[in-house]
Symmetry: C2
Subunit: 314 residues, 2 copies
């Protein structure tokens, strides 16, 4: 009965969409959609798991719904697509109250609205831990993959890198100074990059979103494209600006390390031979393989240190 | 690194599909699809959660992958659609070995093959409990909803009801007699009803799959359609046959109660004015509301007792 009432509540909250090819939303065995015939569909799923991706003390339930949604929507933006509609599967322990549940749904709705997507269904179940799994469908005239980066392309970025990792670290350490506020917000409320994703249009040769860390994710792009990517640290630090420097200092971390290895900001990175609206250049694409960084000391190959979604590193 | 290797393994196992409108499968930010323009898309997600839907001692890892996939695919069949492609999000604790992981994936693949669907992506994460979340896209010329049942329609069923619940009860009680073997198999390896789903074609006015119990799910259909549904217990018991009777006796349950309230067989139930290939008639649709059963003692309204996916009831 409780599940039934909650589904009813979601149906009211998310609305019954009958536009944009959505023929039926919440309330049946499945949602019914019609994709415009001339667009490609991109499709992703992402799970947000308690004790792995977050602790309850680190964010509000609304934040929880919001960021779990954005992590999934980001994959769609990274393909140069517009988020179209979404399903949310929620596993919730009994101690998550109806009010908490509503806050999670509010967060999902806010995030969906921010990317102009509709939530058209989902699944509710019990579970010993909170798990929010979001699947998003997006539409695009041309999907941009990880492969396709060409030698001579610039490496372009839209959005912060490292700030969310500084925020996560602050939360894990219990810091709450004014200097980490923006970083905490970056972690709790990742900014959608839909406009930037669309701006990649026909210009970008390859793209990826930074969920696991810049070196790690750019490494995926380089490998898929069969190229080497070199990141200019001066450009990267300039891009990060004062907020990253201050947050890094507050949590006792190196801003360059945060920028290179911090995940969950969901910045977009693209390889392109021409500038892209809203993107800053931070490097270039060359022959070879792997990821290099260069600074006044010269150039060296870097490996991803493997961003841990959970634990702060010492 | 382990996640990377596991994704690579899934990519090998599930194959790189380049047919049926699948342009890109596993390995990028999202899958890329092209839906045939004249078909509706139906879309669902379902979670299979340890300690809620199963205990590890009740099934093999391959069963686990298989049944989690079928539960989601069933929602697509219930809309009269063909499963097209799927994403699987797996949250796995550290003690789930690489071998266990492969067995889960084998089960997903077997299930996908059984319904002619392709697994085109997913998500891997850690988690304190095993959670397998499957999203399925299906295609159909005409989606059949819960609403639409008309007064005078027959109520038709394809597949067992109650057998899986008997099997679950046997597993929970530790029974392993020959008399419960079919019931245990019904729970571990639910039979896909794709052909039956397609057979509903233009004939069925409304349909649903039985995941929570016949009375509960038919109640949803009745409510959505604004009608009353009457189930003939003699027809239902005849449909259940000897296997249900024997399994019910072995686990000390009433076969009629199992058939009315047992979930997870994923039978399809349709309201139709004409017979449907592969379906048996078990009742009819009338004016009014709610679900009634009739037997030699007469007719009475029944409420769903609420099938508990986990605990056997005493």
């Amino acid at each position: 009965v409780r599940e039934r009432e909650r589904i009813q509540r979601l149906s009211e909250l998310f609305g019954v969409a009958r536009d944009d090819g959505i023929e039926l939303g919440i309330g049946d065995d499945a949602a019914i959609l019609r994709a415009p015939g001339d667009l490609a569909i991109v499709w992703t799923v992402d799970a947000h798991v308690e004790h792995v991706h977050f602790e309850r003390t680190w964010l509000s339930w609304e934040d929880c719904g919001y960021r779990s949604f954005m992590a999934a929507a980001s994959d769609v933006s990274a393909m140069g697509a517009s988020p179209w509609c979404a399903l949310g599967a929620l596993s919730l322990p009994p101690d998550v109250s109806d009010k908490d549940f509503e806050s999670i749904a509010d967060g999902q709705k806010l995030a969906a609205q921010a990317v102009s997507a509709r939530i058209v269904g989902g699944n509710l179940s019990a579970g010993a831990i909170v798990t929010l799994t979001t699947s998003v469908l997006g539409l695009t005239p041309r999907a941009i993959r990880r492969q396709g980066a060409a030698v001579g392309d610039g490496l372009w970025i839209c959005g912060e890198v490292g700030l969310a990792a500084a925020g996560l670290r602050a939360l894990a350490l219990g810091h709450s100074a004014e200097s980490v506020e923006r970083a905490v917000l970056a972690w709790r409320r990742p900014v959608p990059r839909v406009t930037a994703g669309l701006a990649m249009g026909r210009t970008a040769h390859a793209a990826i979103d930074v969920s696991d860390g810049l070196v790690c994710d750019v490494g995926h792009l380089a490998e898929a494209s069969g190229v080497c990517v070199a990141i200019d640290l001066a450009l990267l630090v300039a891009h990060g600006g004062d907020a990253l420097a201050r947050a890094a200092e507050a949590v006792g971390a190196d801003p360059v390390d945060l920028a290179l290895n911090g995940g969950e900001d969901y910045a977009l990175v693209a390889a392109s031979s021409a500038p892209i609206d809203g993107f800053s250049r931070i490097g270039d694409v060359r022959e070879g393989m792997g990821v290099y960084v260069r600074d006044e000391r010269g150039e060296r190959r870097v490996e991803a240190t493997g961003f841990d979604h959970f634990a702060p590193r010492g």
